[in-house]
Symmetry: D2
Amino acid sequence: MIGIGVVGYGYWGPNLVRNFMETSSATVISVCDQDQDKLDLVQKRYPTIIPTLNFTDLLSNPAVDAIVIATPVRSHYELALQALKADKHVLIEKPMAETSEQTAHLVAEAEQRGLTLMVDHTFIYTGAVRKLKELVETGELGKINYYDSSRINLGLFQHDVDVIWDLAVHDISILGFVLGEFPNRVSATGASHVPGMVENTAYITLFYESGTIAHVNVNWLSPVKMRSTVVGGDKKMVVYDDLEPSEKIKIYDKGVTVTDDPEQIYQMRVGYRTGDMLAPNVPSTEALLVEAEHFVDCIVTKKTPITSGKMGHEVVKIVEAATASMKQFGQPVSLLP
Amino acid sequence: MIGIGVVGYGYWGPNLVRNFMETSSATVISVCDQDQDKLDLVQKRYPTIIPTLNFTDLLSNPAVDAIVIATPVRSHYELALQALKADKHVLIEKPMAETSEQTAHLVAEAEQRGLTLMVDHTFIYTGAVRKLKELVETGELGKINYYDSSRINLGLFQHDVDVIWDLAVHDISILGFVLGEFPNRVSATGASHVPGMVENTAYITLFYESGTIAHVNVNWLSPVKMRSTVVGGDKKMVVYDDLEPSEKIKIYDKGVTVTDDPEQIYQMRVGYRTGDMLAPNVPSTEALLVEAEHFVDCIVTKKTPITSGKMGHEVVKIVEAATASMKQFGQPVSLLP
Amino acid sequence: MIGIGVVGYGYWGPNLVRNFMETSSATVISVCDQDQDKLDLVQKRYPTIIPTLNFTDLLSNPAVDAIVIATPVRSHYELALQALKADKHVLIEKPMAETSEQTAHLVAEAEQRGLTLMVDHTFIYTGAVRKLKELVETGELGKINYYDSSRINLGLFQHDVDVIWDLAVHDISILGFVLGEFPNRVSATGASHVPGMVENTAYITLFYESGTIAHVNVNWLSPVKMRSTVVGGDKKMVVYDDLEPSEKIKIYDKGVTVTDDPEQIYQMRVGYRTGDMLAPNVPSTEALLVEAEHFVDCIVTKKTPITSGKMGHEVVKIVEAATASMKQFGQPVSLLP
Amino acid sequence: MIGIGVVGYGYWGPNLVRNFMETSSATVISVCDQDQDKLDLVQKRYPTIIPTLNFTDLLSNPAVDAIVIATPVRSHYELALQALKADKHVLIEKPMAETSEQTAHLVAEAEQRGLTLMVDHTFIYTGAVRKLKELVETGELGKINYYDSSRINLGLFQHDVDVIWDLAVHDISILGFVLGEFPNRVSATGASHVPGMVENTAYITLFYESGTIAHVNVNWLSPVKMRSTVVGGDKKMVVYDDLEPSEKIKIYDKGVTVTDDPEQIYQMRVGYRTGDMLAPNVPSTEALLVEAEHFVDCIVTKKTPITSGKMGHEVVKIVEAATASMKQFGQPVSLLP
């Protein structure tokens, strides 16, 4: 039985606690938060969990094997580092930390100590995203031409991270997982519409060695909510709409065919193909439960998590580059080593 | 009665002929095309129209007061110039020409001769876009924060112009009309997914002096069709969906409010406001008929067209800059004089 | 080459003329209408067609092999009877006539003379309805439990026929075609909401020997337009939405399974099955062209039309019974012979 | 502080307990269920609540002022009667009981003892239904022509009540509340498609003295979920879609106008009017919390609940009549006294 300590019981922490309580080979030992009201709430809900105001209590508790960090981004690095140094396995809410220097350091520390370091990129554990990866991996979609995502709503303004760090990070991690490839160049644009606040609207283009192009549209100031992605392959294309109650994934047997017919050389050389559309049944297990089980399994079996610290680090590198590009009105930033 | 000559009876020409035949103070005198089959079709449909294979027949026909150009983009400049030099008023299908040098020349030529020069930016004449302009002009939406458009479908590949010249040109003209402002900077990215073909996917960000940011997503290779635009004002926001059979314009009384409450200074300082949504009844008159009437009216009254040659020139300048930026992976291009 | 005479050039007549002009082995010889303006319009569009104010001109013209009737319902019987007596094949717009006595008479007359008698139930010739029939016939849906259709909009009020005769007739013909079975009982309710006018809202339930139940909701006074049908089989279920631009047919691999497990005997005995959804590509050929070709083919080869006079007669019998039930607040009316 | 006892902790009970725990002037004292596992769950969640296997414990507990019944329908009457006889106020889950004889008896018993008797018709307490009532009461919609509801899904089969008792009961209570009028006649049809099970598909038409017609389509065997109602007034019309995350209520300024123009007497006498559509912002407070507060308020102030026992009785009378009509294939059943 793996003992879990959770730090941060604000917006996301309660979901983490609830799911780790339901995980078969783990249990939550202690929860730390700086707000006594939050701790009272924990105790009312779970009388067996030890509430504490001091993070060091988690570190010194021998029953705590792993620490789950669900605090604001600016504290991720410091808390994770302390946890690793206390020989605890670590799961960090996304984004992993504020800089890629920090994330590189955490990866090195965990590696050196043989500890599991994982990042909570929850979407990777949904049935829909796993189906998307399967469609790409089996070659059903063919070569991936583009990935185009809109993730917009009248959203919770963050005051320490901008909309790229808050929302685009989802697509960047999904892209890493689904394509198995990281971009070599990024161009991003954006704007802040609330004086003194961080950017609330951003558009990011990612360029890949393979020729794939990815685009992510994120916005905290939209009157309508959208969570919609189009993935265009040269065999088939997919629309993934996370707001659909069922039929989140739709596979279109559509595309273009190029002719070499010399008769048509000066005319249109491209024809269209329109076939069936299939919406496969996708399991609707709660992603966070799948993820919690996976974290525990990685600790026990010492295997590398799907959303490893290394992957979280790559995501932060891309987000950093996108932010830099955004500050320069789209000036492309290289991601080559 | 204004006599109209039409050159080009391919995809769009028949719509132009049909609408000018229904325009009260104009009639189509002659149609020119290089394909005899097209001319036979014209004659079968409209026995009174003179078909011809030679463009010079339109120029030399004294009954032809104005020439409407609906040929491939590469021929726009040459045909329009000849028409103006023959003292004919000119309406050119969008985009106006291949370069801004050409469009500047056409504008100068028309001005010098006192002729009407207009570009067929059809969307400007739809009820929905005119309603959008009214909402902006009357201040109902407040300051415009952003304009975000998706114009994607499994589309007709063009082989002489890329997807920016084909589709984004619609949004760029709508933006000029609705905002009454042209951008000072552009960043664009894109890709070609069919070997040897022009770019079929592009993402364009336009920056405005006023702080407005506009984004246009165009794609010929999408499994689903979208013609959807979100316009975010600081008072209200609009979703304009051109594919909706009715309710093309939806006005959301939604937004954020910023607090200066010192108590909340370290917390979230942004609140949300959610009110009614109104879909105003928008007239559904065919845009091309409104446009044809407007062209004839401008010729008769010598007033400047809404979609003047000057405006068409500004649009081409932006499209040129966007294409240049796209070739450099988003490198921003200045549009300041 | 089959010569066609068309009587009635109002709302539907122009579509019939246009499609018969495009039919390979037929041509329209003459069009009759009581309104000279309509005839002028015909002549302008089709200089080769002979316009006439007198129906007898169609009857006496030896070049006219078949007469297509697109006049108000009250004149169908008289015109069709004259046409058959003049040895012309006949195609009648739906509904076939005002009473089943009339339709029976027309069927007998055509049979006796060996003439083709067909009713213009256009929906039968759409790709979507043919796909629906295929799904039922091949057993893919299993036993058909129900058919449930909503056909509502802010519609053209008719003043001689009520909403059942105008709209429900579509579903009743589709049901006859798809199920290959006619109902043995009908119950209908409805109301008129415009004083002095026929019923504009009606609800019809059809009971079948096989256990299938069908329901049709028709309404001329709805703020929104719907053309949506759910067909529930015990293996799969279909949603057919005629307003979808593509994906008109969606096949759901969903259903219930009944358990005989004695352990569960006092509990719920029904489980759920949820699988993929498939939207097959359905050909989008214009139904009226398919129908026109079929009519000509039936004349030439003497085979029985899919929407034969006999079928049109069965439809009228059901509509008659539904109207009678509606006048008595749902009192069921038997359709057994 | 009003003490609440809840009997039944199955599907709906937990929602009732949670909401009564949040109600300001009430608290849940004790929960009774026949299943010890359910009671363990209660105790884990709410350590202060007394769990019991015996209903008589609720009756004899002087701290229990009111009893909330969330058991299968067949036990409603007996439990409610015992509760009233023990001088407890009563809230019963819908439908109120199995027969109108039973519901009449309960109403009489409560009245005689001066106790509050209320039925849990939850939808009445939603923001959307209250907005609908407001639109009818203020006359904004004009005279109500029709109410047309579809309430279909792949649903939980009940084995003691059919789909009318399970689902149509929602619309019948909404109709009573919104129209303030009960029907004088009902016709219903339906079918069972699972051998040995109750009817899973039903269509009910309600006729009103005022001329309004209401129709309810309920189905447990639909591949898609719908909770959609159209209300047609002679001034405006409403679409109420309970599955819309926002914009549940849409008000269409659409309708027909009847002309008396003698010129048009033999033609169409009906014209169309198409105006704006408004989706008013509707409060999204949880209906069950509003209802719980209302129940407590009625007990304290002795006022009549909106969903009183009397109203629950009227609903059962209509459901009874609908079921009787359904058994006779739509034969209309009178609801006049």
